[in-house]
C-alpha cells in the first residue's frame, strides 16, 4: 500500500521569503505563494503531525509536533521527499520551539513548562524550568528578544499565564483574568504587549512591563486557537474554532489607554477550527490553515488599489460640480461600468463619475425621469438604460474609456398601459434585449431588441404574460428569452413567434423571487442554466429542444442540480474564470460575495442589509457594489485578489463518516472524468461533497457541497453509476441523481426522499443496502434504524416512489449495518446490531420478486406487492462482544455461500460464512475470529478480489490488508495513516496499467488516497 495524497488538518503555517510552509499531517508542504505551486512535500515525522515550524536566519528549519522534533536545512526540505531520519523524540509533548538569537541553538518548551536548550543536532545542552510550576499546558511561547533576553509565556489550564525569564528561571508575571484553559499566548516584538486567548473566547491584551490587563476583545463566537501581532505591533490577527480570521487594532487612545478593537472579519474556512496563521508584512497578506486542510491567503491591505471604498452624498457632489440639488432630491438609481458609474436623481439629473479623474459630471437632465426611474445597463457596451412609469426609455452609450457620450436615444412605447419594471440582457453580437412590464395583468410583456451602436429598436415583441407573473431577472439564448419571476417561476418566450404561449416552469424550488438566470454550458441539444432564488436556493436546469417538426412545447426541462445556501438572501450567481461558482447576496447586515465551489467568503461589506437600493456590477478587475446607506452613495470595489485565494482548497472540516466512489459508467463515457473518479464524502458537518480524484496524482477537485441534510451524515453510497443514496439521523434518506455528461462539471440533485415514520422523526437511519431488479432502474432498499427497526422498500423508477413492503424490528437495540445477500434463489438480510450478533433473515417470500440464480439480481415475475411483517430471523450468531461497526460480504461464484466480514468495537475481526445446502437450508458458521485485529475499534472493512482479501481501517490509525485462505484471516500488510478518527473507506479497481490495481480512499478527520 502506497500513500499518494492526503487532505486533512493543516495545524500550522509560516511565510518564508516567497514561500509558504505548512504542517500537513506528518509532512511539511512548501508552496510558492505567488504562482500557487506546491514545490515540495517532505515527510518530517514517522507518525506525529507537524504542529509548529520555526525558521532561523540561517535557513535552518525547526519542526515540532507532539513529542517529535526535527532540525533540518530548508534546502533539504525542498530537495527531499522524506527527512524522517532526522526525527528526534522528547519524553514530553513539545508545545513550542524557537531558535536562539544567533540561530546556533534551539529552545524547546515542553507541556510541563520546561525548556530544553539544544544544539542544532538536537543534543540537549541544558534544561530550564520554573520551580513549582509544572502543571500541564495547552499553550506556551518562547520569545527571543536578545541573546540574553528570552521570555517564556506559559498558558496554564487554570486561566493563568506565567511569564518567566529563561536564563534566570524567574517568574516575571502571573497574568490572571481569563477563565478556563489558555489556548494561545504571544508577546509583541517591541516587548510592550502580551496577547492571550482562552476557553472564555476573549482576547486579552496585557502590558508586559506592569502585567496590567489593558483591554479585553470580544468578537469570536467560539474558541480562539492562534494569535499574532503584525504591522509594527499595531495590529493583532486571531483565528478560531468559529472558522473566521479576525483582525484587531491595538489603539492607544489619548488618555494613555490601549485598546483592542475589532477591525475586520474573514469567514474563510469550513466548520470547524482554524489552527494556524501567519502574516507577511511586506505584502500585507495573511495565510491561515484549518482543520479543513485549506491554506487560505487573505489580503490584509484594505487599500491596495486605493479606491476600494468611496462614498458621496449629493451635497458633496454639488460642491464639486457647482450645481444645486433640490433639498428633497435623492439618488434614484445607479449603474457601474469599468470607467466609473452613472447615477440618476429623483429630479431626472443624470451624472457620471469617472475613476480616472475622480470627478463628477452632469450629463443631462430629463424631466421625463423625475420621481420614478429604473436604471439598468449593458456593461460590456458602456450603455446605460433608464426607464420610467410613463413608458419612456432613455439610452446613453459612452466611449470605451467613458470620456465621451457617444449616443443618446429616447423611445416612447405605446403597447402597455403603464410600465413599472424594466430588465435588460445582452442578446447577440449587435444588440441587447429590454423588457418592459406593466402592473396590469392583462397587458402584454413587451420585449425590445435594441442595437448597440445606434440604440434604435430593431424588433419589438409583445408576449402573452403568464398569470401571477412579476418579472425579476432576464437571460437570453438563441432565439429565446428567459424571464424569471416571483413564485420561483421561469417563463421562456420565443422571439421568432410572439404568439407562442410561453414555456413555463413553476415552483422550481421552495423559495419565492427568482433573482438570476445565467447560461452555463451546452451539449448537443441541451443547455444548462443556473437559476438563483432570493430565499437561498439555486438550481441548475437543463433545457432540451424538442426534435419534432413543429415542436410544442419547444423544450423539455430537467433539474440537474439543486442546493441551498446556508443562510441569508441569494441575489445572484455566476461562474468565474476558474469555473468556480460565485454567489452573492445578504446575510443580515452584510453583503457577501462567496466562492460556493470551495466554500469561502471572497468579500463582504457591512452595508446595513438587503433593504436598500443596491447593485453589483462587473468591472474590469472585479466587481463594484453600489448602495445607499444613510443618504450616502457607497462605492465598494471588490477586486480580484492579486494573490492566489488558496494554496490548498481543502475538504470537510469535520469527520468524514462515509466515502463512496462512483463506479465506472457502463457506457457513454466520453472522457470528461477519465483517469480518475467522481466520488462523494458524507461528513459529521451535515454536508455531502461531490468531487473528483485523479488516480495517479491523487489530486482532488471539489465540485459541490450539498446541504440538504440537517443532521450529521451516517452513510453515502453510489448504488450504480448515476444514483447515490445518503442517510443520516432524523430519518433523512435521500436518493440523488448524478449527471456527468457535461464537460465542465458533474451535477447532482435529489430525485426522491424516503418517507419518515412520524412528522417529527428522531430515529437515526444507520445503514441501508439495495438490490436492483435485473435490467431495470427499479430496486429494493432496506433501511435499519436506531430503534432496531428494519424496513424494506420498493423503488419504482418510473413512478419515482418508495413503497414500503416489509417492516419489523430486531429487538430494542440499535442496528449498525445491513446487507442484502442473494444465494441461489433465496434472498437474505444480514444485520449487525450493537449486541455483537450477526442476524440473518430470509426475506425471499417477502419481496415481490424472484431471484435470478446466476446474477443474484431480482427478477421481475410480476408478483404482487403485499405489505407484510418481517419474519423471525432464521439464524443468529454472536461473533463480537459488542457493537459490530463494519459489515461486508462476498458471494462465491456458485452463489451458494457468502463470506461475511465483521469488524467490531471489541477490536475483533470476524469471518463467518452463510451457506445454503442442497435443499436450501441456510447455515451460518464462524470461520475465523482475530480478537485483537486492531488496538481500537475497527470502523470499516471491505472484501476485495472476490473475498480473497480484505482491507480494514480502525481508530488506531492502522490500515490493514488481510489474506483470506480457506476461511482463515492472515495479516498481509499494515500501514499507518495520518487520518485521525479513521472511520470510512472505499476501494475501486484501476485499469490504468500500473503496478497498482486498487485505489483506496480513507476518511476520518481528513482524506487520504492510497494505491495498492
Amino acid at each position: 500500500m502506497k500513500d499518494v495524497s492526503h487532505y486533512g488538518p493543516a495545524l500550522c503555517t509560516k511565510f518564508h521569503n516567497d514561500y509558504v510552509l505548512a504542517g500537513y499531517g506528518p509532512f511539511v508542504h512548501v508552496y510558492d505563494y505567488r504562482s500557487n505551486t506546491l514545490i515540495s512535500k517532505c515527510r518530517m515525522f514517522h507518525k506525529n503531525k507537524v504542529h509548529g515550524i520555526s525558521i532561523s536566519a540561517g535557513e535552518e528549519v525547526l519542526a515540532y509536533g507532539a513529542r517529535s522534533i526535527s532540525v533540518v536545512r530548508f534546502e533539504d526540505i525542498l530537495k527531499n521527499e522524506s527527512l524522517v531520519d532526522s526525527e528526534k523524540i522528547n519524553s514530553d509533548w513539545v508545545t513550542n520551539g524557537e531558535f536562539s538569537s544567533d540561530g546556533s541553538q534551539v529552545y524547546l518548551l515542553t507541556c510541563y513548562n520546561k525548556v530544553l536548550i539544544c544544539d542544532l543536532s538536537c543534543e540537549v545542552l541544558s534544561s530550564k524550568s520554573l520551580r513549582g510550576e509544572r502543571s500541564i499546558l495547552y499553550s506556551g511561547m518562547i520569545k527571543v528578544f536578545a541573546p540574553d533576553k528570552v521570555y517564556i509565556s506559559a498558558g496554564t489550564v487554570m486561566g493563568g499565564i506565567i511569564i518567566w525569564d529563561l536564563f534566570s528561571e524567574t517568574k516575571i508575571h502571573n497574568l490572571l483574568g481569563h477563565e478556563g484553559s489558555i489556548f494561545y499566548v504571544t508577546l509583541s516584538n517591541n516587548g510592550s504587549f502580551v496577547a492571550s486567548c482562552s476557553d472564555d473566547r476573549s482576547i486579552r491584551l496585557w502590558d508586559l512591563d506592569t502585567g496590567e490587563e489593558l483591554s479585553v476583545g470580544w468578537s469570536h463566537t467560539a474558541r480562539i486557537w492562534n494569535l499574532k501581532f503584525f504591522d509594527n505591533d499595531t495590529k493583532l490577527i486571531s483565528v478560531s474554532e468559529d472558522c473566521t480570521c479576525r483582525v484587531w487594532t491595538v489603539m492607544e487612545s489619548q488618555k494613555n489607554i490601549t485598546e483592542l478593537s475589532i477591525s475586520n472579519i474573514y469567514d474563510v474556512h469550513l466548520s470547524k477550527n482554524i489552527w494556524g496563521v501567519d502574516v507577511k508584512e511586506d505584502d500585507m497578506i495573511a495565510v491561515t490553515s484549518g482543520n479543513d486542510g485549506r491554506l487560505k491567503l487573505i489580503d490584509l491591505h484594505l487599500e491596495r488599489h486605493g479606491d476600494e471604498e468611496t462614498s458621496f452624498n449629493l451635497d458633496e457632489i454639488s460642491q464639486q460640480l457647482d450645481i444645486v440639488f433640490d433639498k428633497n432630491e435623492t439618488i434614484k438609481g445607479f449603474q457601474g461600468f469599468s470607467f466609473g458609474i452613472v447615477i440618476i436623481t429623483s429630479l431626472g439629473k443624470i451624472l457620471q463619475f469617472r475613476n480616472t479623474t475622480k470627478q463628477w459630471k452632469l450629463l443631462l437632465t430629463d424631466e421625463n425621469f423625475v420621481a420614478y426611474s429604473i436604471t439598468n445597463g449593458i456593461q460590456a457596451q458602456n450603455i446605460v438604460v433608464f426607464s420610467n412609469n410613463k413608458k419612456d426609455i432613455l439610452l446613453i452609450r459612452f466611449s470605451e474609456n467613458g470620456d465621451e457620450v457617444m449616443h443618446v436615444e429616447q423611445h416612447h412605447t405605446t403597447e402597455l398601459s403603464k410600465t413599472n419594471n424594466c430588465l435588460v440582457t445582452e442578446y447577440d453580437e449587435h444588440s441587447f434585449l429590454l423588457t418592459l412590464e406593466s402592473p396590469n395583468p392583462r397587458d402584454k410583456l413587451l420585449c425590445l431588441e435594441i442595437d448597440f451602436q445606434d440604440l434604435k429598436i430593431k424588433t419589438k415583441h409583445c408576449f402573452n404574460k403568464p398569470e401571477n407573473f412579476a418579472s425579476s431577472c432576464l437571460a437570453s439564448f438563441q432565439n429565446f428569452v428567459l424571464v424569471g419571476s416571483r413564485f420561483s417561476t421561469l417563463a421562456i418566450f420565443n422571439l421568432l413567434n410572439d404568439d407562442d404561449e410561453p414555456f413555463i416552469i413553476r415552483r422550481l424550488c421552495p423559495g419565492d423571487t427568482t433573482t438570476s438566470i445565467k447560461f452555463v454550458e451546452n451539449k448537443n441539444d441541451s443547455t444548462v442554466f443556473s437559476v438563483t432564488n432570493r430565499d437561498g436556493y439555486y438550481d441548475f436546469i437543463e433545457l432540451t429542444k424538442s426534435n419534432c417538426e413543429s415542436p410544442h412545447p419547444p423544450f423539455s426541462y430537467k433539474i440537474l442540480h439543486s442546493n441551498k445556501m446556508m443562510k441569508g438572501f441569494l441575489e445572484g450567481a455566476f461562474f468565474n474564470s476558474n469555473g468556480e461558482y460565485i454567489t452573492y447576496g445578504f446575510k443580515s447586515s452584510l453583503f457577501y460575495l462567496y466562492n460556493e465551489t470551495n466554500c469561502y467568503e471572497l468579500a463582504s461589506e457591512v452595508c446595513g442589509g438587503a433593504h436598500r437600493q443596491w447593485k453589483l456590477n462587473n468591472v474590469n478587475d472585479g466587481h463594484i457594489l453600489m448602495y445607499i446607506k444613510s443618504s450616502r452613495l457607497h462605492l465598494r470595489k471588490m477586486y480580484h485578489s492579486v494573490f492566489p485565494e488558496t494554496l490548498e482548497k481543502g475538504i470537510h472540516g469535520r469527520e468524514i463518516r462515509d466515502i463512496s466512489i462512483c463506479p465506472e459508467a457502463s457506457a457513454d463515457t466520453d472522457g470528461n472524468f477519465k483517469g480518475g473518479h467522481i466520488f462523494c464524502t458524507a461528513s459529521e458537518d451535515t454536508t455531502i461533497k461531490l468531487g473528483y480524484f485523479d488516480n495517479k496524482t491523487g489530486r482532488i477537485r471539489n465540485f459541490w457541497t450539498q446541504r440538504k441534510h440537517i443532521s450529521g451524515l451516517q452513510r453515502c453510497r453510489f448504488i450504480n453509476e448515476k444514483l447515490m443514496i445518503s442517510a443520516s439521523a432524523r430519518e433523512e434518506l435521500f436518493l440523488w441523481e448524478l449527471n456527468d455528461k457535461y464537460d465542465k462539471r458533474p451535477y447532482v440533485t435529489i430525485r426522491q426522499t424516503l418517507p419518515t415514520s412520524t412528522n417529527n422523526p428522531d430515529l437515526r437511519i444507520m445503514d441501508f443496502d439495495v438490490k436492483f431488479v435485473s435490467q431495470s432502474g427499479d430496486f429494493i432498499l432496506i433501511t435499519v434504524y436506531s430503534d432496531s427497526a428494519i424496513k424494506i422498500w420498493y423503488y419504482k423508477e418510473e413512478e419515482n416512489k418508495f413503497e414500503l413492503i416489509t417492516e419489523g424490528r430486531y429487538k430494542t437495540c440499535c442496528i449498525f449495518n445491513v446487507a442484502l445477500v442473494a444465494l441461489k434463489n433465496q434472498l437474505f438480510v444480514v444485520i449487525s446490531p450493537t449486541d455483537g450478533y450477526v442476524v440473518i433473515y430470509n426475506v425471499t417470500e417477502y419481496v415481490p420478486f424472484t431471484i435470478d440464480v446466476t446474477s443474484g439480481d431480482l427478477a421481475d415475475n410480476k408478483l404482487d406487492t403485499l405489505v407484510s411483517g418481517l419474519p423471525m430471523p432464521v439464524l443468529q450468531l454472536q461473533v463480537h462482544q459488542s457493537g459490530i461497526k463494519s459489515l461486508d460480504y462476498a458471494v462465491d461464484t456458485m452463489r451458494t455461500s457468502a463470506a461475511i466480514l465483521t469488524g467490531g468495537d471489541d477490536n475483533g475481526l470476524g469471518l463467518s460464512y452463510l451457506t445454503l445446502d442442497a435443499v436450501n437450508t441456510p447455515a451460518l458458521k464462524a470461520s475465523d475470529f482475530i480478537d485483537s485485529a486492531a488496538s481500537s475499534t475497527i470502523t470499516s472493512g471491505i472484501l476485495i478480489n472476490g473475498g480473497e482479501e480484505a482491507i480494514t481501517t480502525s481508530v488506531d490509525q492502522i490500515v490493514r490488508a488481510w489474506k483470506i485462505t480457506e476461511g482463515k484471516l492472515t495479516l498481509a500488510d499494515e500501514k499507518y495513516t495520518t487520518v485521525a478518527d479513521t472511520g470510512s473507506l472505499d476501494i475501486i479497481s484501476n485499469n490504468d496499467n500500473t503496478e497498482f490495481d486498487k485505489t483506496l480512499l480513507i476518511g476520518g478527520v481528513g482524506l487520504s488516497l492510497w494505491r495498492k
Binding site: 519524553s91 515542553t110 476557553d199 472564555d200 457591512v606 434504524y785 440499535c814
Partner: protein
C-alpha cells in the same frame, strides 16, 4: 444534566434522574462492577475517586460501601473524592477540592485513611477536548498518568485501578505501560457507554509494582521522571532526545460489560420500561448546570453583541 432532554434515545440519562445520580456515567461504574465485582468485595474499605466532579461515581461508591438505612459512618470504611472543581456533598464521602498531582493532596488522603493504603482508586476524568486528536489523546493519557502517580503512592498491593480512556492511536502504548504495574489490564466497555464513542475504561487488576521502585510525588518532577526506573515509561532518559523508534505497544483484552439485556445507549426507545416511563419529564436535574468559562461570551452572543459589524 438539564431538565429537558433533547436526546430521547438516552435511557441511561432518564434512569440516572430517576435513581438520583448526578450523571449517567454512574451506570458505567455499576456495569463495570457487574463484570469485575471490585465493589462487592466485603473487605473493601478505603476507596479514592479522582477527578470526581460532579460526583456520580462517588455516589455509586457511597451506595455500594454503605447501607443507606444505617446513618452512621463506619470507622473502617472511607471514601475520598478529589477534584479541582467544588462538589456538592455526598453521604459518607469526604470531598477534597485539590490538585491530584500535588504531594499535599496525597498527604491529606493518607491522613484521612490513617496512613493505611487504599483498596480501590478510580478516575472518570476527561480534559477539555480541543479537536486536535493527537493532543486530546495525549492530555487524556497524561491525566491518567497523573491519577496513576497518586494511585501508586496510595494503592495497596493487589489493589484495583479503574480509569476512563479514549481508544485512539496510542492507546496500546498506555496498555503496555500499565502492564508494568498491574497483573492484568482489561479494556472494558460498559453498555451504557455509547458504541459510537471512543470512550472505554481500563480496569487494572492486582497492583504489583516492581519491588525496587519507590514512587515519590514531587511538584518538580515530571510524570515521566516519576515513573523512571519503574521501568516503564519508554526507554527515554529525560533531557535527552532519542531517535525515533516504534514504542512498545500491546493490546489489552477487550471486555464488554453489562448484560445484553441492559439498555443499549445507541438505541432509540419507544416503549419505555414502566419503571422509567412515569417519571421522566417531571424530574428536576439533580446537579445544576455547570458554570462554563465561556459564560460571558454566551451572554454577549445572546444579547446580540457578537453580531458581525465589520
Amino acid at each position: 444534566m438539564g431538565k429537558g432532554s433533547k436526546d430521547k434515545r438516552d435511557l441511561y440519562y432518564r434512569k440516572a434522574k430517576e435513581q438520583g445520580y448526578r450523571a449517567r456515567s454512574a451506570f458505567k461504574l455499576l456495569q463495570l462492577n457487574d463484570q469485575f465485582h471490585f465493589l462487592d468485595d466485603p473487605n473493601l474499605k478505603r476507596v479514592v475517586d479522582l477527578c470526581a466532579a460532579p460526583g456520580s461515581w462517588s455516589q455509586v461508591l457511597s451506595r455500594k460501601l454503605f447501607d443507606e438505612n444505617i446513618d452512621t459512618d463506619s470507622e473502617e470504611k472511607k471514601i475520598v473524592a478529589v477534584d479541582l472543581q467544588p462538589m456538592s456533598p455526598i453521604p459518607h464521602v469526604t470531598t477534597l477540592q485539590a490538585d491530584i498531582t500535588h504531594p499535599k493532596t496525597l498527604a491529606r488522603i493518607l491522613d484521612l485513611f490513617g496512613n493505611e493504603k487504599a483498596d480501590f482508586v478510580c478516575s472518570d476524568g476527561a480534559p477539555d477536548v480541543t479537536g486536535l486528536h493527537d493532543l486530546d489523546e495525549y492530555v487524556q493519557q497524561q491525566l491518567i498518568m497523573s491519577a496513576l502517580q497518586l494511585t501508586t503512592c496510595i494503592l495497596k498491593k493487589g489493589g484495583v485501578f479503574v480509569a476512563k480512556i479514549f481508544r485512539g492511536r496510542d492507546i496500546d502504548m498506555l496498555y503496555s505501560q500499565l502492564g508494568y504495574l498491574f497483573d492484568k489490564i482489561v479494556c472494558a466497555k460498559p453498555r451504557s457507554s455509547r458504541g459510537t464513542s471512543l470512550e472505554a475504561f481500563i480496569v487494572c487488576l492486582g497492583y504489583n509494582p516492581p519491588s525496587s521502585w519507590i514512587p515519590k510525588l514531587d511538584v518538580n518532577t515530571s510524570v515521566d521522571e516519576f515513573f523512571q526506573g519503574c521501568y516503564f515509561n519508554r526507554l527515554v532518559i529525560s533531557d535527552k532526545l532519542s531517535h525515533w523508534n516504534e514504542e512498545e505497544r500491546s493490546i489489552a483484552e477487550f471486555m464488554a460489560c453489562g448484560s445484553l439485556e441492559s439498555f443499549d445507549s445507541d438505541a432509540t426507545y419507544h416503549d419505555l420500561p414502566s419503571s422509567i416511563a412515569n417519571t421522566i419529564s417531571s424530574l428536576d436535574p439533580v446537579q445544576g448546570p455547570t458554570n462554563p468559562p465561556y459564560k460571558k461570551a454566551l451572554e454577549l452572543k445572546r444579547s446580540g453583541k457578537l453580531t458581525r459589524s465589520v
